[in-house]
């Protein structure tokens, strides 16, 4: 978690999760789409915090 590449990979995975979640939201069951959206959102927030931490230290 101290590597910039880790946070970059988490960012890429989160974007994929968000895109897939948005795609799945149009098809039943919609809860699956919501699951991926929440997952992507959490990953983006974690990546954001990690990037900011890297920039500050």
């Amino acid at each position: 978690v101290r590597s910039a590449r880790f946070w970059a990979a988490l960012y890429a995975l989160s974007v994929l999760a968000l895109a897939y979640g948005m795609w799945r939201l149009a098809e039943p069951p919609q809860l699956a789409g919501l699951f991926w959206l929440v997952l992507g959102g959490l990953g983006l927030k974690a990546s954001h915090d990690g990037q900011r931490w890297l920039g500050q230290h």
Partner: protein, 256 residues
């Protein structure tokens, strides 16, 4: 006979310096192209045609059509008025145009239901609305030189510590494309109750994707070597733990 190279001023710069500086009370000098007609009228007219005029003429009544025509009139009037008075032009061209467009949608009522919309046309219209909003941004006219402003600090220009590489531009372009993809995917959601949530989530997600992506691109220019030393405080783990917990919960539900 010899003229110092540093004091040589080209005729174009001298002409720009002779022009009256733009006043900061919102009134633009005549001929100041701070609001481009192209960047305002083209996307505005397209957004109006696809999202306002089309439903008003296909399924609307007289009130909706009158509102749509008035909105178009305010768009054109505001764009031209902004060349004389920026504040007034923006008030008419943005608030008036958007307000009357919203009024037209209100007059359409149930005819504007999601099921009756052409999704591709609506998505293109949404993009045009975004371009219309950005088109109202003030741009510095090419012949205006900031260094000739009497309030500018004279001296040696500051040299940037580094320049962004082409790879950084490509990565940022990919982040931008990913951010733009989310609102487009949201148009696939046809359920009336869920569509609003999808668009709100897509908008928030797009902002977050572009924001974090720009940090990602610029991180390598912060003097970081990509790997932190052991003396640093521990990195943030809260949302990473929530991410993993949510992933584990999903896997457990999926396997159950």
């Amino acid at each position: 006979l010899a003229e110092p190279a540093g004091e040589r001023v080209s005729p174009a710069l001298a002409g720009a310096a002779a022009r009256p500086l733009r006043r900061w009370n919102g009134a633009a000098a005549p001929g100041d192209d701070s609001v481009s007609l192209r960047t305002v009228l083209l996307p505005g007219a397209y957004a109006w045609a696809t999202t306002v005029a089309l439903p008003a003429w296909s399924a609307g009544n007289g009130v909706a059509r009158a509102g749509a025509l008035s909105a178009l009139g305010l768009l054109v009037l505001g764009a031209f008025a902004a060349r004389r008075n920026l504040v007034l032009g923006r008030a008419v061209g943005v608030l008036g145009f958007v307000g009357l467009s919203a009024g037209t949608w209100g007059a359409l009522g149930p005819a504007l239901a999601l099921a009756s919309l052409d999704l591709v046309r609506a998505a293109l219209g949404a993009i045009a609305w975004g371009l219309f909003a950005m088109g109202w941004g003030s741009l510095r006219s090419p012949e205006r030189v900031p260094e000739l402003d009497p309030r500018a600090l004279q001296g040696e220009p500051l040299v940037p510590k580094t320049r962004l590489s082409r790879e950084a531009g490509v990565i940022f372009g990919a982040c931008l494309a990913a951010g733009l993809l989310l609102p487009l995917l949201a148009w696939r959601v046809r359920d009336n109750g869920l569509a609003l949530l999808a668009h709100a989530a897509a908008l928030a997600g797009a902002i977050a994707v572009i924001n974090v992506g720009s940090r990602l691109v610029l991180a390598r220019y912060d003097g970081q070597d990509g790997r932190a030393s052991a003396t640093r405080p521990s990195p943030p783990r809260l949302f990473l733990a929530l991410f993993l917990a949510w992933l584990a919960l999903g896997a457990a539900v999926w396997l159950a």
